[in-house]
């Protein structure tokens, strides 16, 4: 009886032995890498209706974050400022800039500016800004160096695993309560203060952070 398969098919078997593990490994890697929020979500940077620059306002001019996002300490939701906040200055500054036309129109006719939300959690995860600010988690820990962003991008994946990493070990992310909005806390100039800081001996803290690790912490 003649052979059904030519001689070279013998080489297929070691090839399969190498190929199958490689295929499995590359499939696992692809899903682990390209399907994770670290890849899909971090770096999201939509175009905004008004070219607002955090680099200019928070970075160069040094506005405190809470000037505009004024509810961050007392509300679960950190507010986007209304047009009125913009007009506090822009009724005097750059009053005829074409880039601010939408802000002026919004202020006059009362229509909201259609900002595009960058940090979007699913509605079944109830994130609350208050306890995080009160525990001394800096803005930059979750939102990145906003003071350097001309257009805001999502700096962290905001995945559940990422949240839990910090809830399980919050210590490295805690800072003095008056440094929460300080964008330079991680810079060299604060290295000494940062190294010296021990949140457990902070007299400003009335109670120690106790981050929830149970389901109903966020999925209530």
């Amino acid at each position: 009886m003649p052979a059904i398969f030519p001689r070279w098919t013998n080489k297929l078997i070691p090839l399969l032995g190498v190929g199958c593990p490689l295929l499995v490994a590359s499939t696992i890697f692809s899903i682990w890498y390209w399907f994770s929020p670290y890849y899909t979500d971090a770096g999201y940077q939509p175009k905004q209706p008004v070219p607002f620059s955090h680099a200019l306002h928070a970075g160069d001019m040094g506005l405190d974050c809470r000037y505009c996002h004024n509810t961050v300490e007392r509300s679960p939701h950190a507010a986007i400022p209304p047009s009125a906040t913009c007009m506090n200055c822009h009724s005097q500054v750059k009053t005829d800039s074409p880039r601010l036309a939408l802000v002026r129109a919004s202020y006059e006719n009362g229509d909201s500016i259609p900002w595009v939300r960058v940090h979007q959690l699913p509605d079944y995860a109830y994130f609350d800004h208050r306890p995080h600010v009160a525990a001394g988690v800096g803005c930059a820990s979750c939102h990145g160096r906003i003071d350097g962003m001309t257009v805001v991008e999502m700096n962290k994946p905001l995945s559940m695993g990422w949240c839990l990493d910090c809830h399980r070990e919050p210590e490295p992310h805690l800072r003095p309560l008056d440094q929460v909005t300080n964008m330079h806390w991680d810079d060299a100039e604060f290295a000494e203060a940062k190294a010296a800081y021990n949140y457990q001996e902070d007299p400003e803290r009335t109670r120690m952070p106790n981050p929830p690790m149970h389901c109903s912490g966020c999925h209530r």
Binding site: M1, I4, W32, S36, P37, Y38, S159, M160, G161, L164
Partner: protein, 464 residues
């Protein structure tokens, strides 16, 4: 030839002195021919079975599509009865599968040579029944697209399944059962695939069988390794078959519900599984042996042996029914007593009595030799057992749920047309796969059957 001599002599095996397992004294070559020719050139009956099966598979596809589109609300589930036909069908199909492993693994360990004629098709039945079963745990979830969360995969959520749930054990049990059954079946198929390869007349067939035969040449070394692998797999599959249905029974027994929380469930479910599985083997093999002209290989003796196992397991199941009632009374627990009185005399009494008459009364007919040696009678009996065992799962699931601790949460579960479509459609899936198996693979383990023929005995032909 020696075969001629046997044909003229007594139907008893001349060496062992027992009943011949292959009647009519065919030669090795004739056995190969008789098994392979219907595969290569299927009889008309194959098409008559395949086309309706395909139509039923279409029903299944339709039901699943509508289910995914609209949600599990298309079924008749209500709040107390939130496990309905889906779980009933799941347990039913998993149970069907168990006879295949019993025949191929447990009877192999017990050196029961009559298994050789039925093991291939029984294992195929196992695999296809498990495929049908797997549809239901997946599809009965409200969000089947998140079913992979039940697998322990490191993920960006930092989440892990809860290993204390028997539903998670189901995932592992059924997935392992499917994999091991498939491997066992495939290992058993290799020598026969080589036979099919060597008989192939077209290039495509030769290549396809050639690839799957893995270069089997039937050398002594091949056979030695093969036998060892087969024995190991049989040894592994035996505890598996017992534990898989045990785990399925834990879905109920681990809960607190009167009627479910019973320690008798694991062995009782396994007995029921073997009972229903053997019935399904009979349902399948009795027509096939006729249509495929294999009545001399799957003999009356084979049917009789299977009927005896049905009698044994049917009696075990009957004992369990009685024991459940006894304990319900003996426990003195009002909920437990009520659950069982409600089974027999409540709104689902009709289902309970169908179950009792099909599962407890009908198999007792097997005591009569006339019944257990009549293919027609066994075929009818096997259908009754299949119906009865489906109702057993229905009774356990629904009657315990629809009236439990709080009378304010009593309700009656009424299945919808989509429940029915899923059940009927799952038969379509099963029979389509089974027909394809009959079309492309030898339904008798040719190599194994040859080993139990008298000619295979080294003393065959000796006069001393």
């Amino acid at each position: 030839m020696a075969t001629k001599a046997i044909k003229e002599r007594d139907p008893l095996d001349p060496v062992r002195g027992r009943k011949l397992l292959v009647e009519g004294g065919p030669s090795f070559h004739e056995v190969t021919e008789q098994v392979c020719v219907p595969v290569e050139d299927p009889p008309l009956a194959w098409w008559l079975a395949f086309i309706p099966s395909l139509a039923l598979l279409g029903v299944f596809g339709l039901a699943v599509t509508w289910l995914l589109w609209f949600g599990v609300g298309i079924w008749g589930l209500n709040n107390p009865v939130d496990w309905g036909w889906a779980i009933v069908n799941f347990v039913f199909w998993v149970g069907i599968g168990h006879a295949g492993t019993l025949i191929s693994a447990i009877l192999f360990l017990f050196r029961q040579q009559w298994r050789t004629a039925v093991n291939r098709s029984a294992e195929a039945m196992t695999i296809f029944a498990v495929i049908c079963a797997l549809q239901f745990p997946t599809l009965h979830t409200g969000r089947p697209w998140a079913i992979y969360w039940s697998l322990p995969i490191p993920n960006q959520m930092g989440m892990w399944p809860n290993f204390r749930s028997p539903l998670l054990w189901d995932v592992f049990a059924v997935a392992t059962y499917f994999t091991v059954s498939l491997l066992f079946w495939y290992v058993g198929l290799i020598p026969d695939l080589a036979t099919m390869r060597d008989r192939a007349t077209t290039k495509i067939r030769r290549l396809a069988y050639g690839i799957f035969a893995l270069g089997w040449r039937g050398s002594t070394r091949h056979w030695q390794h093969y036998e060892k692998a087969y024995l190991l797999l049989a040894g592994l599959a035996t505890p598996l078959v017992l534990s898989v249905h045990t785990i399925v029974s834990f879905d109920f027994a681990v809960s607190q519900l009167p009627g479910w929380h019973t320690t008798i469930f694991p062995p009782y479910f396994v007995a029921g599984a073997i009972f229903s599985g053997f019935a399904m083997v009979l349902t399948l093999l009795i027509p096939i042996r006729k249509w495929y002209g294999l009545e001399h290989i799957i003999t009356i003796k084979h049917l009789e042996n299977m009927a005896k196992i049905i009698l044994l397991t049917g009696s075990l199941v009957g004992y369990a029914y009685g024991m459940e009632f006894f304990i319900a009374w003996y426990s003195g627990n009002p909920y437990e007593s009520f659950a069982f009185v409600n089974r027999a005399f409540g709104p689902y009494a009709w289902a309970y009595w169908i179950m009792i008459s099909c599962n407890v009364i009908s198999p007792q007919l097997v005591w009569f030799k006339k019944v257990r040696r009549s293919p027609v009678a066994l075929f009818i009996l096997s259908i009754f057992v299949n119906i009865g065992m489906w109702f057993e799962r229905f009774v356990i699931t629904v009657t315990s749920l629809h009236r439990d601790f709080l009378p304010s949460s009593w309700d009656y579960y009424q299945p919808t047309i989509w429940d029915l479509a899923m059940l009927v459609g799952s038969f379509g899936l099963f029979f389509t796969l089974f027909c394809l198996f009959l079309r492309y693979l030898p339904m008798i383990a040719i190599a194994e059957v040859k080993t139990v023929m008298p000619e295979a005995d080294p003393h065959h032909g000796d006069d001393h």
